[in-house]
Subunit: 270 residues, 2 copies
DNA sequence: CGTATCATTGAGGCGGCTCAATTTTTGTGG
DNA sequence: CCACAAAAATTGAGCCGCCTCAATGATACG
């Protein structure tokens, strides 16, 4: 991995490689024209773009880890996402022609530049590519929706649990171990992302560790019971109890045994 | 308003009208081909699409009010948005070819159908239209980001306050009064949207009413101090509210013109 | 006019935040 | 390589904001 890392700013990808990274069907490359996309490297801590900066290009993560953040009117950071290999970011700049968020490298990164002009031009030539770009943007929107849903309805423990699961699955996709990995972000950043304080994140990880769901040692995380993490939740707030009761009744009518709620629900006392 | 409502299913819009509704620059209509887009009417309570239903068309609100919701694995509703005139929805279906959310009419609605195939075909002919569609999708993404940020960082009072402000501005855009309007959704739906319980929403509205920021009577909302609502972060403790209300009253009595920069905003930023 | 839905309001509990102290890790320069 | 400082992480104590549970009032609809 990270081949050619040393050759700074000299890497290029063709369209086929671009599609591979984005996990979209290969564009029919009847193209004799050798379309190339430039790579750019960033070191840990460097900013890729800032809020308000004029927009003209999207970024695709070839390798490395980043965060995107919003800065509110009092200078507080709100983490929006942790882009990694295959993710697209910068989309929020299309609308106002200026980036609405800021992107920062959490590790050394290799990014593929995708000028917006080039994207639209490509879309007009390759129908599948146009569709793929819409699809990727739709995927981003669905992800944000899931995020909203999580922040609005889940307990702190459930949020941290799902965060770990999604990270684990993401690592698996990228060919790394899904059972043992290092966090690339601080507790503070995780907390911001999940709408929690860093102390709550730390405490929750410790609690999961005590129960045996995971192992924690600073940035190193070991996933011990992924199924329990996936299904962990708690009292459903801000939602209609009537529906839940109804659903529960029909469930109980169907299967009279087996309590539908996992017993992890009560671990708050720990 | 709602002209031609009676002629059910017989309304059509051309491309120019479509662009107007979407608030995007008019596409250069060198088009002799009279491209028409079908309208559809829905009555209060009807579902436009459901989760998992095969996706093939986007919807643009011509008139009326709706909600889009996610249903979690236990039947709990999570409100994602309240589409109204000029809004596009259904975008979340592009990625998986199935709608990821459910859309329900909160009032009688007139929607414009925008088949995805037609959209992409149009984008290939009219460059500006393609760009506009990307822009609209980007706008949606930015909106979701703002939502995440709000859920992650703001207090209940601030969320309700901003919700009211954004509604007010939205009504102003549509040509209605920004000072006095009716809520089209229940407290429960507002709560779900904001990640709060319906009781908290109700209590917060009552509190705003008490201190003179708004007037509330069931679904009817009067905006009295939009600036204070915009900058509000945290309400003063109830013990001290009485004095401030009194102070405010004497202020309003003294100077009947515009309320000066309110002091509600700068409390307890911590 | 009765019933179901929606809204208001109160009392009380607890989950997650705040404040604070300590330990561990990271980064930097002598 | 070690020393030192800064940042990150852990853990505890206390409290408050929001949720839960519950009862009543208001509104819409057949």
């Amino acid at each position: 991995m990270e081949t050619g890392w040393q050759r700074q700013g000299k890497l290029w990808s063709n369209l086929k490689e671009l599609c591979e990274v984005l996990r979209i069907p290969h564009v029919a490359a009847h193209t004799d024209e050798e379309l190339l996309f430039q790579h750019v490297q960033f070191k840990t801590g460097q900013r890729i773009h800032t809020i308000g900066q004029p927009f003209d290009t999207l970024y695709i993560v070839h390798s490395g880890f980043l965060k995107t953040v919003l800065i509110d009117e009092f200078g507080n950071e709100q983490v929006l996402s942790f882009p990694m290999k295959g993710d697209l970011f910068g989309v929020d700049g299309i609308h106002t022609k200026r980036y609405a968020s800021e992107a920062v490298a959490l590790s050394n990164c290799d990014l593929i530049l995708l000028p917006f002009k080039k994207l639209t031009a490509l879309g007009r030539v390759h129908v599948e590519f146009e569709h793929a770009m819409y699809s990727v943007m739709s995927r981003e929107l669905v992800r944000e929706q899931a995020m909203v849903s999580m922040l609005g309805a889940l307990s702190a423990e459930a949020r941290v649990a799902r965060f770990l699961v999604s990270l684990s699955e993401r690592y698996a996709d990228m060919g790394y171990s899904s059972k043992l990995f290092n966090l690339r972000m601080t507790r503070h950043e995780i907390g911001s992302y999940l709408g929690l304080t860093l102390e709550t994140v730390s405490r929750t990880l410790s609690a999961f560790n005590e129960i045996g769901l995971i192992t924690v040692d600073q940035r190193s995380i070991g996933i011990k019971d992924p199924d329990a993490l996936k299904t962990l939740r708690r009292l459903p707030p801000s939602s209609s109890r009537a529906k839940q009761v109804a659903a529960k009744k029909s469930k109980q009518a169907a299967e009279q045994k087996e309590s539908p709620d996992s017993d992890w629900g009560q671990l708050a006392s720990a």
